[in-house]
């Protein structure tokens, strides 16, 4: 029983956090590529930013440095600003074209 208890009390390898971060990032990329709704595409970008933040904080823990937290903080600030401007752009696009499907917003193609 002590061995099982030891396994129960042991820490988590750093690589597990990084793998979780990679999986979340890949899911964000997949949603970004395959979804057609512009709001969902935007949410997938937020998912990717969160995944990267997780690896920043993991590295901060590994190296016992606070710089990773500062970086995460700045990423959060930029993501909040990006969300505000991006959603305003989505509102304007919807007002002018009446659609949220990114296949139909293609006026730069011609």
């Amino acid at each position: 029983m002590p061995e099982a208890l030891q396994a129960f009390n042991s820490g988590i390898p750093v690589s597990w956090y990084l793998i979780l971060s990679a999986v979340l990032f890949a899911l964000g990329v997949g949603g970004f590529m395959f979804r057609r709704n512009i709001i969902t595409v935007f949410m997938c970008i937020e998912l990717m930013l969160n995944a990267v933040n997780l690896s920043f904080v993991t590295f901060a823990n590994q190296h016992k440095l606070v710089s990773g937290h500062i970086f995460t903080f700045f990423v959060m600030v930029v993501a909040a600003a990006e969300a505000a401007v991006g959603l305003a752009i989505i509102l304007t696009v919807f007002k002018n074209r009446g659609t949220l499907n990114i296949d139909e917003i293609d006026s730069l193609k011609n």
Partner: protein, 166 residues
């Protein structure tokens, strides 16, 4: 105990992220994304990043996602129209993505196998005090530049979202 917490919240995060991608209705995706962000906040706490965990809950799960839900409500966005996607994108994209994840996982498993372990409480430098100290001494210039960025974002959002005045 650490392992149990990690498995539970990593599982919630992955399942919610899959749900974000697979749900057809934007509001369901948004609510799943809040689940992802909440469980990532718990993982931040476990990594000793108290301030970042709180900022995650307040800024991301609070402010940003409320903005998303508000826009979904304003636009009355319905379920996504499913149309025939190009086969090349699916044939190439999904295997490429799977290969990317496999390669990255292999790299992390190999390169970080003896990088130490994460245990709750073995890093206490993530308190609001130490983050604030670093922010206002070493990283003061980026912090001030960020305020300009936010000002630009506010002006941009107002200009984009206002009614045309003739």
């Amino acid at each position: 105990m650490d392992l149990l917490f990690f498995i539970v919240f990593a599982g919630i995060a992955v399942v919610s992220a899959v749900n974000v991608v697979l749900q057809r209705h934007p509001i369901a995706s948004a609510l799943s994304l809040i689940g992802v962000m909440g469980s990532i906040a718990v993982l931040y706490l476990q990594l000793g990043a108290e301030f970042i965990a709180m900022a995650q809950v307040i800024v991301y799960a609070g402010a940003v996602m409320v903005l998303f839900v508000f826009v979904i409500m304003l636009l009355n966005a319905g379920a996504e129209v499913r149309r025939g996607r190009s086969w090349t994108a699916q044939l190439l994209g999904i295997p490429a993505l799977a290969a990317f994840v496999g390669l990255v996982c292999w790299f992390f498993q190999r390169g970080f196998s003896n990088a130490g372990e994460v245990k709750f409480g073995n890093f206490t430098g993530g308190s609001a005090q130490s983050v604030g100290y670093a922010l206002f001494t070493e990283y003061l210039l980026p912090f001030e530049v960020t305020s300009v960025l936010i000002l630009v974002a506010i002006v941009g959002a107002i200009v984009l979202a206002r009614k045309e005045m003739d």
